[in-house]
Symmetry: C2
Subunit: 371 residues, 2 copies
């Protein structure tokens, strides 16, 4: 096996597949990156059995072959190489890979590719295409509300619901719920699946290019794959029943408040200095007389108290939330103003952006002493 | 106690004194920052008994007084305040401090200033003045070679040696030694002391302004103080006998090599990818035929091998070093080229900058198998 390629192409492919290299591999071969050289193409693969990533780049292959290299060392070595190109040669007898760039020469012990669990392309029964910026928004506006508790796997993933021209992504940790919907062009029929949020977050990072590009998504009953540019990612789906989220969204609200996003974000941020020292991170909001007063209290530290303008349509109300659940959603709101809709101190509230009906966030209030 | 001051002034003073707030205070009061308001000046203090810092700022004081506030919360609250000014008022009855800025209002429980160990100005018997950029260089070029092992306190500090017109700072962890000398104008006589490197590093951070300014240093047999702008820092000195560093510096060398700093730094950096996986972080250098070849080897991972040009004056030589000890000094070398001076594989080497005689670094080689 022998090839020459561009250092930056190789580094990028290594960084892409590295996201599937487990830090605590079940098996030593899974700590490695599989590299196959053939037909002037390098194919890199890594998998931890839950997720598998393939990335392809161009190379001048003078001798085809395949090999597995330690994911950790190959990434560091390639990143630091001095030249623009990399010469790679595998010495089958010594089981050593030679990596040369300018006057720098590294040798790395290598593992046999025979032991590597080659990623098989998914046998899909359904597929659709989505633009990466649309997929980015579906992921970026929902995964933050997933649970981290592995004990209830359904809540560690996002529900993807396809219904002809509509795609909806939903996440919940049972205390709050995020829903993002988008229009889809080429899907026929209905499908539902739960995708691990960890994998969605990795895809979100990999999709950060400037040029919008199509992503092909295929799936069957227990796996999903994402394909874009020269990258292929397959993941298991989470087994289980996602709760009926429609039932959680109130039909109407007694009070609707319009707030300035930046101003509100900055107040919640300051309130959190006190609230996060509490057991339940409680911030209390009093909506009355065209103002919202936000307070938080910790008898052992002190309290915070601040008021900003609020356009209140409906009854006055006092309600308490976990401050993190409010600040999490404020991070993704990109409109200058947003709506908070309320019924009473004990009923779920909704947060929506101005002129963007596609996103809904439902948040359960915290019951405070005296309620 | 009541005052109004500029938020940024107060924040800077808090950040300055915070460096003396222990994260594991011996006594709850030491987790606090003492604030005294008097004569339109705020004086902030913090101490962990090893180091004490005082910082003064201007304020409109309408009611003098003093108080101690939690170092952790006061810093976070002041940093996040929305306004340009801060109004502060202490309610003696409730033992609560009110902090107001724009529409934001925080209250913080406060501690009595009576329990705070007020920092006394040092009763010094000697003092001198040094420009901060000169002090920066003395500190920046030596503390990195100090030891972290508290078991041998002498090596956790830097020796400061004053000898009329000369000031020398020296550090060693017994395997390498850094010496930086400077010219001093206003000191009469001779003095020696060992200053904790931790405190020198804090002073280094605090001195990072653009305008050169004088620093007044006073000391007695067990304490030292640094005074600049509105800041006063006092520290204990380390008791003990610093080794005679003159004896460690070889008088002459059989081989002197001139190397390009940037090129050599980049090779050592790559070599470290392999060497740091070894027990002793060994990089081997072969100087011969106008080149230096740098190699490192780990039988379980692989090896690195790279050559760059070297201007060799004297005998050829092969020598091994701990790669970290070489890369540490390369970080502070700011000349385009530098000298490495050697005698043989087992004798200490010297590293000096080109056209800058003020700095000397001595490094003990590593004995490798076969030597």
């Amino acid at each position: 096996m022998k090839f020459i390629c561009q250092k930056n192409d190789l580094l990028q492919a290594i960084q892409t597949v590295s996201k599937a290299v487990s830090s605590k591999p079940q098996n030593p071969i899974l700590s490695g990156i599989y590299i196959k050289a053939e037909n002037n193409t390098l194919e890199l693969q890594a998998t931890d059995y839950e997720i598998g990533i393939i990335s392809k780049i161009e190379a001048e292959v003078s001798e085809p072959g395949n090999i597995v290299l330690s994911g950790r060392y190959i990434q560091e070595v390639i990143r630091k190489l001095p030249g623009v190109t990399v010469e790679f040669e595998y010495d089958r007898q010594e089981k050593i890979s030679h990596i040369r760039s300018n006057r720098s020469h590294f040798t790395l012990l290598s593992m046999s590719a025979d032991d590597f669990p080659i990623i098989k392309k998914l046998e899909a029964n359904k597929s659709f295409t989505i633009m990466d910026n649309v997929l980015q928004e579906l992921i970026g506006r929902t995964t933050f509300a997933c649970s981290n508790e592995e004990a209830r796997p359904v809540f560690t993933g996002c529900l993807l619901e396809l219904n002809y021209a509509s795609v909806v992504m939903v996440s919940t940790d049972t205390k709050r719920l995020a829903i993002q919907s988008k229009v889809l062009e080429d899907f026929e029929g209905q499908s539902k699946m739960i995708i691990p949020s960890k994998i969605l977050n990795e895809i979100h990072k990999l999709l950060s290019s400037d040029m919008p590009r199509p992503v092909n998504i295929s799936f069957n009953s227990n796996q999903i794959s994402f394909e874009f540019d020269n990258t292929y990612i397959s993941s298991r789906l989470i087994d289980g029943q996602f709760p009926d989220y429609h039932r959680v969204v109130p039909n109407d609200f007694g009070t609707r408040i319009k707030l300035n996003t930046e101003e509100f974000r900055s107040v919640v941020d300051r309130t959190a200095l006190i609230s996060r020292t509490n057991d339940y991170n409680v911030a209390t909001m009093e909506f009355a007389n065209g103002m919202v007063r936000i307070t938080s209290d910790n008898p052992e530290i002190g309290n915070s108290d601040e008021s900003i303008a609020a356009e209140i349509d409906g009854d006055d109300i006092v309600i308490s939330f976990n401050a993190d659940f409010v600040s999490d959603v404020l991070k993704i709101i990109n409109t200058k103003e947003f709506y908070m809709s309320l019924n009473n101190s004990l009923s779920p509230a909704a947060i929506r952006m101005l002129d963007d009906e596609s996103f809904t966030y439902i948040i359960t209030p915290v019951r405070t002493p005296g309620q």
